[in-house]
């Protein structure tokens, strides 16, 4: 039977990681869902008692979402409207029960192709802050998750926060999730779109698509087409070909691959249209 560590200091957590292969966990909503056992196996490092890892805060350069910040806390945090898409995702992750304990960082670390947190955070150019006994490093989220259940995290590191540069936390945003039922659904496809519109013109565009490949992706070709355009009618600029190169969907029990390709395009158009309607 493994050891269950639950330190209340980050340095103690790092010491555990440095000396053992303990698995960092937070809300445990994903780790318990993948086992039938009545307790977590192996050495576990529970981060939820470390106060410095919790909560949403603001520095001069960035918004900081601590590693153990729950979806619920994100939902009720005082964040600029660029984060609306993340808040919308927070409303659709599991049910209230999972939102109350599941964490945004855990959602990223679990590295599911259908992770609800990925598209919004990609569209915010989020950085992942990794700490170990040796120091701190930051990597772009896009580089952090490398495949299904895979990331570049070293075993002696833990994700301490998700950082969103304030320079990117601009504009308005929208998250659209497509599934076969209302609640508790794993997406067939999902998109997050952030547009910074000044005087009716799109100054900055960020578009990300999830559940349509091994890892959620930014759709830079779509973004390029949108930047500089009038917001009015901008949805017409979202052409299928711009998206297809970043999509690598599979056929599974939820949908066939071809439909995912079509649906992703439609969802991006809708998100753009809805944002245009709000402005």
């Amino acid at each position: 039977m493994g050891i269950y560590h639950r330190p209340d200091k980050l340095k103690d957590a790092l010491a555990v990681l440095a000396s053992s292969g303990a698995r960092p966990v937070a809300g445990c909503t994903d780790v318990f869902a993948t086992t039938e056992a009545q307790e977590l196996a192996g050495d576990v490092l529970d981060l939820t008692d470390i106060a410095e890892l919790r909560g949403v805060s603001e520095t001069a350069e960035c918004w900081r979402i601590g590693a153990t910040t729950t979806w619920r806390e994100v939902r009720f945090a005082d964040l600029p409207s660029a984060f609306d898409m993340l808040v919308e995702a927070a409303r659709e992750v599991g049910g209230v029960q999972v939102q109350n304990t599941g964490t945004v960082a855990g959602n990223i670390c679990n590295a599911s192709p259908a992770a609800d947190g990925m598209p919004p955070l990609l569209a915010l150019d989020a950085q992942i802050e990794l700490v170990s006994a040796h120091g701190v490093r930051q990597v772009p989220l896009a580089a952090y998750v490398t495949g299904p259940r895979q990331s570049i995290r070293h075993t002696d590191e833990l994700v301490s926060a998700i950082l969103v540069p304030k320079a990117r936390a601009v504009g308005r945003s929208r998250f659209l999730k497509l599934g076969a039922r209302k609640h508790l659904v794993i997406s067939i496809a999902m998109v997050a779109v952030r547009l910074d519109v000044v005087a009716g013109q799109i100054r900055e565009a960020a578009v990300a698509v999830g559940a349509c490949g091994p890892v959620a992706q930014r759709a830079t070709a779509v973004e390029k087409a949108l930047v500089g355009a009038d917001i009015e009618g901008a949805d017409q600029l979202v052409r299928s070909v711009f998206l297809q190169e970043v999509l690598a969907p599979i056929s599974d029990v939820r949908s066939d691959a071809g439909y995912r390709r079509e649906a992703a395009v439609e969802l991006v158009r809708r998100a753009v249209r809805q944002l245009a309607g709000e402005i």
Binding site: F32, A33, G94, G95, V98, L184, I188, V253, A263
Partner: protein, 903 residues
């Protein structure tokens, strides 16, 4: 050691810190009101509050509640149900009750911060808890009315039938005291786990089991240990399923061995090195594989992998269709559908003297007893089935699950044993709805009168027979729908594959057949140029007209059901047209479909026996052996018995099903309990009343009352008092008692399926209004108006609950439910409707009395699911032109069908 408070009481528990809170609450603190449905956070049954917030106890390591306040359902009701729990009872928001504690706790969390939530807030707060019975509508109503007061009626003598009586067994369900299969503990019990085949087809041989077991301090049991006949089945003539496979696994998930040991040992045990060597074979995974010429056979006696074919033929359909003015034809394919009750199979066994006692969830206690006795080589007197509260069944808990496995271990060890399926094990091992591949042709004359129909269907019955024969026989009888079809030919075949066993699921194949037939009727009506509802009304069965089996019926209510939909139909057509004219990107449609369904076994004996007695102390006991799996038999049958006897229903004490205490009431299947067991209850109560009247020498109009051990009879000015204590003891501990058996009269079907397969039928029709997203193919069901003919409504509250729940399951079958072995053995890949997916439901309860049914009543339980899927499919086609040829209508399939219709 972890310290926290539970329901205000400090607890220090010495358990591993990474243990699930749900396990700690249930097993360490004995708080079993918190239910475990999935251990994955998919069902929410384990919802508890931590510092006031709803969380899934199954996803929470106990370490994380250190120093915090945990509240469970047991903490709410101090002296009786809280206002919220009373609202659940008043609104009929609990059926089987397994999800109820989770629902109540999620609602409690909401109401503490929002005392007057709106519907949307309720849906959001409860969106994380799945219910498979109620269709959610009454749960929403209850939470919205949590501040309301009052209780359901407590009708006086003779007035129970027709009253919205709250469930008589409801208080325990809302308070979390109900004891389901996993909820009764025996600390010394051996824990059993099954070793199951990972392959759909494989032969196998064991290595050194003894050595493996000894090294781990456990015991292993295989087919060789089975003392009786290792072969069971729900229909004796087709019995073919081993309790443990002998040398050959015919399906993935088939149990090949049992391992039993103490709780601690079993929790830590790894099965990775279990000594079994598999020789994998090529499985038949589809009907096509199984039917291919030269395909390997699953069962020697069934050479072409065909289990059985059912046929109904009447008139000359070839000529009729050749001469018909209008003919349409079409095909439909459906997949495996999982019952997905929130309670995984579970139970406990122990010896009392030389009698093996088994307490497990079930729909069929006597069948369990007889089959388990056969497998274990025991006379039936040595097996006693004492059913647990059953957390949903819908057909799959008719088949044996844990019973023979528990029985084997307890019989051979003498020790109590316990077995609780995991969610994935439940989904792997339990039966499914038959996948079907169907084709049909329907013709009508120029006036829109149906002239003939051909139906042909293959039903994938999986590795073992289970209820395959029932499906094959029932489908041809019902595939016409409740319509007059003078020329008819229908055949349904049950075909073995190496897929999951397909068994009974609400409707026995009829929902699949209706989904095709009702779609074709829409196409035919369109071709003729008739209104689709008018077409159905024109062709609806009527009293005295013969069915496709040549049976002339009385009390046919389909016409009345269709009539009840007329005003909503007219209004919906107008509103849909208006919406579609003014909206881009979305289209709305209206669809209608009917059902009929024979109650009870098809042309086979089907008796129920009820006993009712009065003790010397003055307690009236109804031996109610008809399993209540949430559908309400405990309440409805008591209402019937109370009125027949002439006493208030709340004066009747229910004696729950127990093969040693309650007479055989058959199975809770085929919508038979209200009709068959209900009639037996009426007969028994009537017989008891007659005895009492005779004893008092009173006429049939005398009023009976019972108080303080004295029966008082009053007729006009005459009055008699009977002191029960002065009567001699009769039998079963009663001074007065009666027992009656009822077996519905049916006639054997001839080789063309002609005869009288059922004594009583029920009828219904549903109208679905949907909105389709034309670019994404998603379908939102906005409203279902349901009209069901119950003959006599015994309990409107429970009847509405059946309708709403059946519609939710029908919606799931129509739009999202598709089980794929090896891929969807959990409740996040296998989707059932959530609280946000169910439409507004308006129920019309129609009463066209049946001459045979008790007080005119007909069955309802399965009927309610049958019209939903075709009504939705017809509404999708009305909205978009899309014809679905495969269920479920997933968004990708709907979009493809829309695109095909447009091109």
């Amino acid at each position: 050691m972890v310290s926290f408070t539970v329901n205000g009481v400090s607890q220090d528990v010495d358990v591993p810190l990474g243990r699930r809170l749900s396990h700690v609450l249930r097993e360490e603190l004995n708080l079993r009101g918190t239910k475990v449905g999935c251990d994955s956070g998919d069902c929410g049954a384990c919802t508890v509050l931590v510092d006031g917030d709803a969380i899934c106890a199954c996803l929470t390591p106990v370490a994380q509640v250190a120093g915090r306040a945990v509240e469970t359902v047991e903490g709410l009701a101090k002296t009786g149900p809280t206002a919220l729990q009373k609202a659940f009872l008043r609104h009929g928001a609990t059926q089987c009750g397994i999800c109820t504690p989770g629902m109540v706790m999620a609602a409690e969390a909401l109401l503490r911060c929002n005392t007057k939530p709106d519907r949307a807030a309720v849906e959001t707060a409860l969106g994380g808890v799945l219910c498979r019975c109620t269709g959610y509508t009454k749960i929403i109503d209850a939470v919205l009315d949590a501040a309301g007061r009052g209780t359901g009626p407590e009708p006086s003598a003779g007035c129970a039938v027709g009253a919205r009586v709250e469930r008589l067994d409801g208080a325990a369900k809302v308070m979390g005291n109900e004891a389901f299969g996993a909820d009764v503990v025996e600390k010394s019990a051996l824990i059993i786990r099954a070793v199951r085949s990972p392959y759909a087809a494989a032969s196998f041989a064991f290595g050194n089991l003894e050595q493996w077991a000894e090294a781990r301090g456990v015991r292993v049991f295989t087919a060789k240990d089975i003392p009786g006949i290792n072969c069971f089945g729900v229909i004796e003539r087709f019995a073919d399923q081993p309790a443990l496979a002998e040398t050959n696994a015919r399906m993935a998930g088939e149990a090949v061995a049992l391992v039993a040991g103490s709780e601690d040992v079993m929790a830590a045990l790894s099965f990775e090195d279990f000594p079994v060597i598999w020789t994998v074979k090529d499985p038949h995974l589809s009907l096509k594989d199984a039917a291919a010429s030269g395909a390997a056979v699953l069962h020697k006696s069934r050479g072409d992998n065909q289990l059985i074919a059912g046929v109904v033929k009447r008139g000359d359909v070839k000529v009729a269709l050749a001469e018909a003015a209008h003919v349409v034809e079409g095909s439909l394919r459906t997949g495996h559908v999982e019952h997905a009750y929130i309670e995984p199979e579970a139970g406990l066994a122990w010896m009392e003297g030389d009698v093996l006692n088994i307490r497990a969830c079930t729909q069929a206690p006597v069948l369990d007893r007889d089959s388990t006795a056969k497998v274990l080589g025991l006379p039936v007197e040595r097996v006693r089935i004492r059913p647990a509260a059953t957390g949903g069944g819908f057909g799959a808990k008719l088949d044996l699950s844990v019973q023979p496995l528990l029985g084997l271990v307890t019989l051979l060890t003498g020790q109590p044993s316990k077995m609780v399926f995991t969610r994935s094990e439940s989904m792997v091992a339990s039966t499914k709805r038959h996948p079907a591949q169907m084709h049909a042709q329907v013709g009508a004359d120029v006036d829109g009168q149906l002239v003939g129909m051909v139906f042909d269907g293959d039903f994938d019955t999986g590795a073992y027979a289970s209820w395959g024969p029932t499906v094959a026989v029932r489908v041809p009888v019902h595939a016409s729908g409740p319509y007059v079809v003078p020329n008819y030919s229908a055949e349904a075949r049950a075909i073995h594959t190496n897929g999951p066993v397909s068994g009974a699921f609400r409707g026995f194949g009829v929902p699949q057949a209706a989904a095709l037939q009702e779609q074709l009727f829409d196409q035919l009506a369109d071709q003729i140029g008739m209104d689709r509802l008018a077409f159905r009304q024109k062709n609806a069965l009527r009293d005295g007209v013969t069915t496709v089996c040549g049976q002339a019926l009385s009390g046919v209510g389909i016409g009345a059901c269709l009539q009840a939909l007329q005003s909503r139909w007219d209004a919906a057509l107008i509103s849909v047209a208006g919406f579609n004219a003014s909206t881009e990107g979305k289209a709305r449609g209206v669809g209608v479909a009917s059902c009929w369904y024979g109650c009870g076994n098809t042309a086979l004996p089907n008796p129920s026996t009820m006993r009712i007695g009065i003790s010397a102390e003055g307690t009236i006991c109804l031996h109610q052996g008809a399993m209540d799996i949430g559908q309400g038999a405990n309440t409805v049958i008591a209402q019937l018995a109370a009125d027949a006897l002439g006493v208030p229903v709340h004066q009747i004490k229910l004696i729950d099903a127990d093969t040693a205490v309650t007479p055989d009431c058959g199975k809770t299947s085929a919508s038979r309990q209200t009709v068959v067991s209900g009639k037996a209850a009426v007969l028994a109560a009537t017989a008891l009343r007659a005895k009492i009247l005779q004893m008092a020498n009173m006429g049939s109009e005398a009023e009976i009352s019972l108080s303080g051990g004295v029966l008082t009879l009053i007729e006009g000015v005459a009055r008699r008092d009977i002191s029960l204590r002065q009567l001699p003891q009769a039998a079963y501990g009663y001074v007065l008692w009666a027992e009656e058996t009822y077996d519905p009269p049916t006639e054997v079907l001839d080789e063309n399926g002609q005869g009288a397969p059922y004594a009583v039928y029920g009828y219904g029709a549903q109208l679905a209004e949907v909105e389709v997203d034309l670019a994404l193919g998603t379908v939102k069901v906005l409203k279902v108006t349901a009209a069901h003919d119950l003959g006599k409504v015994i309990n409107p509250l429970l009847a509405e609950g059946q309708i709403e729940g059946g519609i939710a399951q029908g919606l799931g079958m129509a739009l999202m439910e598709e089980f794929h072995p090896g891929k969807t053995e959990n409740l996040h890949d296998y989707l059932i409707p959530t609280i946000g997916d169910v439409p507004e439901v308006v129920s019309h309860l129609i009463e066209v009395p049946d001459p045979e049914g008790p007080m005119g009543a007909k069955g309802l339980g399965e009927h309610v699911l049958i019209p939903t899927a075709p009504a939705i499919l017809n509404a999708i086609r009305h909205a978009t032109g899309a014809v679905l040829t495969q269920l479920p209508a997933r968004p990708d399939r709907v979009l493809a069908a829309i695109q095909a219709a447009m091109s």
